[in-house]
């Protein structure tokens, strides 16, 4: 039974220099038709009336939609899914795009969590990375959202940006923490192909801070969060108790989720799938009464076990030996004897309270650990 949903809105007014998600400039796009087809996709896939655990609307920029379009989308979502008080219902929001009327549309349709793409409080850096909002927009949007009654608010920060120094980032974290929000995410910049940054990097014109500074930033982030009483429940996520993102945890706990919209990814009935990316092709497929799935791959038992490890170990709690055995009927310590031994020896993994989890050092070198669980034969 799939009770988590990701919904993708691939439109943006501005394209950030680091973004490689499926997105297009909004101007001249068939946005309303897209929303109709998106709702059609949801309707034709989900037929159950079971209450949902999580709905997450991301992008692109969902808040690039105007109030009327947001209303249409929210009504469509409500018509398909059983949203209850305990459903975590999140919209990603761009500080520059969020106005009062949009906020009230979201609020009146049961959205109970906002995730702001703040990235940095340094206006010079915001400009450099191609964001069109400035730090004052963050304060304004937050106040508006809180005035409308939103309390479960998260903001995303990015570190290891070009020209960013450790003190730049520490200042950003301090200013974020002053807001006393219940949830924060801190992501490190990964330069991906097909982005402005990638092209700059290839020309040698992207002054990235380097591994040592990046590690220092991550370390500082964790320390500052801890000092504020925010618990790190995953490599990049921090929250007050009870405010862990249900949606994020769906991924790390290797559970199923729908992906709706152009280029969205889902995992249903043991199959990972991705939707058609180009907006026009996506629309066309649904107009022809076809599901817009571009690629499907069934996850084998071995892959499931590997994923249980490399996703689950991202959580501070790690992977439960008991849950593993219950899910797969196999003892983790048997099937992964070698990597467990090696990683524990290297002091990257530890066993605690029936869980295998990353050590503090392991958190910095997660990929070294995750890879070691790949290649099950």
């Amino acid at each position: 039974m799939t009770s988590a949903v990701y919904i993708h809105i691939p439109f943006c007014h501005h394209i950030c220099h680091y973004c490689d998600f499926n997105k297009v400039f909004m101007k001249n796009q068939p946005v309303d038709t897209y929303l109709d087809m998106l709702i059609k996709e949801m309707q034709s896939v989900h037929k159950s009336n079971e209450p949902m655990k999580s709905i997450f609307v991301g992008g692109g920029t969902p808040t690039a939609l105007n109030a009327a379009q947001l209303e249409k989308l929210c009504e469509g979502i409500q018509s398909v899914f059983n949203i209850t008080d305990s459903t975590e219902y999140t919209f990603e929001a761009n500080p520059g795009d969020l106005s009062k009327d949009k906020i009230s549309v979201l609020k009146s349709h049961g959205v109970n969590r906002l995730s702001f793409g703040v990235q940095s409080f340094n206006d010079r850096l915001l400009e450099k990375i191609g964001r069109n909002h400035r730090s004052e927009d963050v304060y304004r949007s937050l106040t508006q959202a809180q005035d409308e009654g939103f309390e479960n608010i998260s903001i995303d920060l990015i570190y290891a940006l070009p020209e960013q120094t450790l003190s730049d980032f520490e200042d950003t974290v301090d200013r974020a923490l002053e807001l006393e929000l219940p949830h924060y995410s801190g992501y490190s910049l990964i330069v991906e192909p097909k982005t402005v940054f990638y092209n700059l990097m290839r020309k040698g014109r992207l002054p990235l801070p380097g591994e040592d500074t990046e590690a220092a930033m991550y370390d500082s982030l964790m320390n500052k969060m801890a000092a504020k009483g925010l618990e790190q429940y995953e490599i990049s996520n921090f929250s007050k108790t009870g405010y862990e993102s249900i949606h994020n945890l769906t991924y790390w706990e290797n559970e199923s989720y729908y992906g709706f919209g152009a280029g969205a990814h889902g995992y249903v009935n043991g199959v990972r799938y991705s939707n058609i990316g180009p907006v026009s092709k996506y629309i066309q497929s649904l107009e022809e009464e076809k599901l817009p799935v571009f690629h499907r791959s069934e996850v084998t038992l071995n892959e499931k076990m590997e994923e249980e490890m490399f996703l689950g170990l991202r959580k501070t709690n790690g992977v439960s030996l008991q849950v593993f055995e219950k899910k797969f009927g196999i003892n983790m310590k048997n099937i992964f004897e070698e990597p467990l031994k090696e990683m524990i020896n290297k002091n990257l993994l530890e066993e605690k309270n029936g869980h295998v989890r990353l050590t503090k050092e392991g958190r910095f070198l997660g990929n070294e650990v995750f890879q070691s669980f790949l290649g099950l034969k």
């Binding site: 992906g259 990929n367 070294e368 995750f370």
Partner: protein, 609 residues
């Protein structure tokens, strides 16, 4: 065939090669000649047919020789039999070139109408002149905007001393001048001379291994005749075989009843190993042998050695099989088992030169799918010990202790560098810095200079060619030949990773450069070896003395802290890629070392000094 028929046929045979610098259009010209003589239907026509291996086509060079028989209807009304013998275009293969030229009476000299003569071309022209070949200059690419055919014509006359007044102006690409070339072949290249009734004398100018037929020897009949069933003898090795099949390439292998004087084709005789059909050897009749072999045969000796090790130690046997298979086709390749403390079991392999080495290495990785560690190439040192003994050392790690060495000699080459006069300064500076001795400098014309140095082969192997290219903006061309051994003040430099000596990284260096190179290699290794979970000291030592040190910092952060949406497959791919990268590294002690690091000693370019 009776005597008269043979005679008539022989007078209409023309055997020739094409000499050209890389990129001057040899392959394209060969294609045009094949087209014009209708050797192939257009459907069979594949671009650059003579370069048959993929690797050759990618690198734009010919490694394996080929010989094609073509029929040409000349303007004088007679039909001629042409044999076009292809030659490799690289200094590593000079000997093979000389043997395939020896199978010809003529050579087409292709010179780029914009670039003029290059050192490599010149070297091959001299080989052709040594073999008494008639040379037909062709000025190619005349349709290029930068073409200056008259200047190049003058250059051919001034530099080589050939009469270029009748040089054909051609564009192989555009099909211009091809017929003129064919007519000149008929008119100017002499017909083969030689007595069909004399004892058999056939020159082997190449051979390859065919899994169904055994070794296929490429031969040119100089005297006598050969037919299936004949008993033949290889004069250098003394081995005897019974001929199974003879034939010509049209370009498909086509069996014949008889090959006689002037014919260029192939011979099979259930021969198991290419080393039984050595390039340059003479095939004669075992029943009625000739007294004297053809001149010019010599056994090929490798000039450059390196260690080849499988990254995955379980692939040792696969590597041995691969080398065995390659050796079937390459008598110049030598190998013997070797053990390294750092790398485990592998082979020390000998090559004609660096290109030959790279080709073999690439073929093993590509055709046999074995990831390799290649150690830095080494020349052979003559080491004279204090006790009067003399040893040859082709592996730096096997260099005896300094205390027991009286002196060391190393191979020297005569390097001929042709360069526009603006770059003479940089060339001389480079040659000096490579321990070269100035021998001669000669103006070829107003703007081009031939500079001759004697340089240790080890310096050529090190990075001479790359530096020559960069210091002359690619205008220099270069050729070398081995001239013998000379005493040098050489020392062995060892490299320690995490305080453990890595034998596969040891190298021999001249005492005067030891300190500088030690520093360079330590810095280079620091760049090439990825950060490990702990700090790794890197040291360069001579004996017990540390001449340079640095350290690779411990890895600080490697964790995907990115918002990936629900795209788990992508996350998996990234992890798989990182893991595959690790698999291509070799565990040396507790340090993971990438392939490139073992070649680091070769990659210390100027900008890092």
């Amino acid at each position: 065939m009776n005597q008269e028929q043979r005679g008539n046929r022989q007078k209409n045979i023309r055997n020739f090669s094409i000499i050209a610098h890389i990129d001057h259009g040899k392959s394209t010209l060969a294609d045009r000649i094949l087209e014009q003589t209708k050797a192939l239907t257009s459907r069979e026509m594949k671009a650059q047919l003579l370069d048959s291996m993929d690797l050759e086509r990618e690198r734009g060079i010919t490694i394996k020789l080929n010989a094609v028989q073509l029929k040409y209807q000349a303007k004088n009304g007679e039909e001629y039999t042409f044999h076009l013998i292809d030659t490799p275009g690289h200094v590593d293969f000079t000997y093979e070139v000389s043997r395939s030229l020896a199978a010809c009476e003529g050579a087409i000299l292709v010179v780029d109408a914009a670039q003029g003569i290059e050192a490599q071309t010149l070297a091959n022209v001299y080989l052709a002149l040594d073999n008494d070949l008639e040379i037909l200059p062709v000025i190619n690419k005349i349709d290029l905007p930068a073409a200056d055919p008259e200047r190049v014509r003058q250059e051919v006359e001034d530099v080589i001393g050939l009469d270029a007044s009748e040089a054909v102006l051609a564009s192989a690409k555009a099909g211009i001048g091809i017929e003129d070339i064919l007519e000149q072949i008929v008119e100017k290249v002499p017909a083969p001379t030689g007595d069909p009734d004399a004892p058999l004398k056939a020159l082997i100018f190449d051979s390859l291994y065919d899994p169904y037929r055994g070794v296929v020897a490429y031969i040119r009949i100089v005297e006598g005749r050969v037919k299936p069933g004949d008993k033949v003898r290889m004069m250098a090795t003394g081995k005897e075989f019974e001929v199974n099949e003879i034939g010509v390439f049209t370009p498909k292998a086509t069996a014949q009843d008889e090959l006689t004087v002037g014919d260029v084709g192939y011979l099979t005789a259930a021969i198991k190993n290419v080393s039984d059909t050595r390039v340059g050897d003479t095939i004669t009749s075992a029943v009625k042998p000739t007294e004297e072999a053809l001149p010019g045969y010599r056994k090929l000796n490798p000039m450059v050695y390196c260690g080849l090790y499988p990254i995955d130690t379980a692939k040792y046997v696969d590597l041995r099989d691969a080398l065995e298979k390659l050796e079937l086709n390459d008598s110049a390749l030598q190998y013997e088992p070797e053990t390294s403390q750092a790398l485990g079991f592998g082979f020390r392999c000998g090559f004609l030169g660096l290109l030959h080495m790279e080709i073999i290495q690439e073929r093993i990785e590509r055709e046999f799918n074995i990831d390799l560690i290649t150690t830095a190439p080494s020349v052979i040192y003559d080491v004279y010990l204090t006790d009067g003994e003399h040893v040859k050392v082709d592996n730096p790690s096997a260099m005896p202790d300094a205390q027991s060495v009286n002196h060391v000699e190393e191979p020297y080459v005569k390097a001929t560098i042709m360069v526009p006069n603006d770059y003479v300064g940089p060339v001389m500076e480079l040659s000096q810095s490579k321990r070269g001795n100035f021998i001669d400098m000669e103006y070829m014309d107003e703007s081009r200079v031939n500079v001759v140095y004697e340089i240790p082969l080890a310096e050529i192997v090190y990075d001479f060619f790359d530096q020559l290219k960069s210091s002359t903006k690619g205008y220099a061309s270069f050729d070398y030949e081995l001239i013998g051994y000379r005493e040098s003040k050489l020392v062995k430099m060892d490299i320690l990773l995490n305080s453990e000596k890595v034998d596969a990284l040891s190298f021999i260096v001249h005492n005067d450069f030891a300190y500088e190179r030690g520093k360079l290699i330590v810095e280079k290794l620091k760049k090439l070896i990825p950060r490990q979970q702990f700090e790794v000291p890197v040291q360069a030592t001579i004996g017990n003395k540390v001449v340079a040190r640095s350290s690779i910092k411990a890895i600080r952060k490697n964790v995907l802290a990115k918002c990936y949406g629900g795209d788990i497959s992508r996350k998996r791919k990234l992890l798989e890629k990182q893991k595959a990268g690790k698999k291509r590294m070799k565990m040396v002690g507790s340090v993971e070392v990438p392939q490139e690091a073992f070649m680091a000693v070769l990659q210390m370019d100027e900008d890092e000094k």
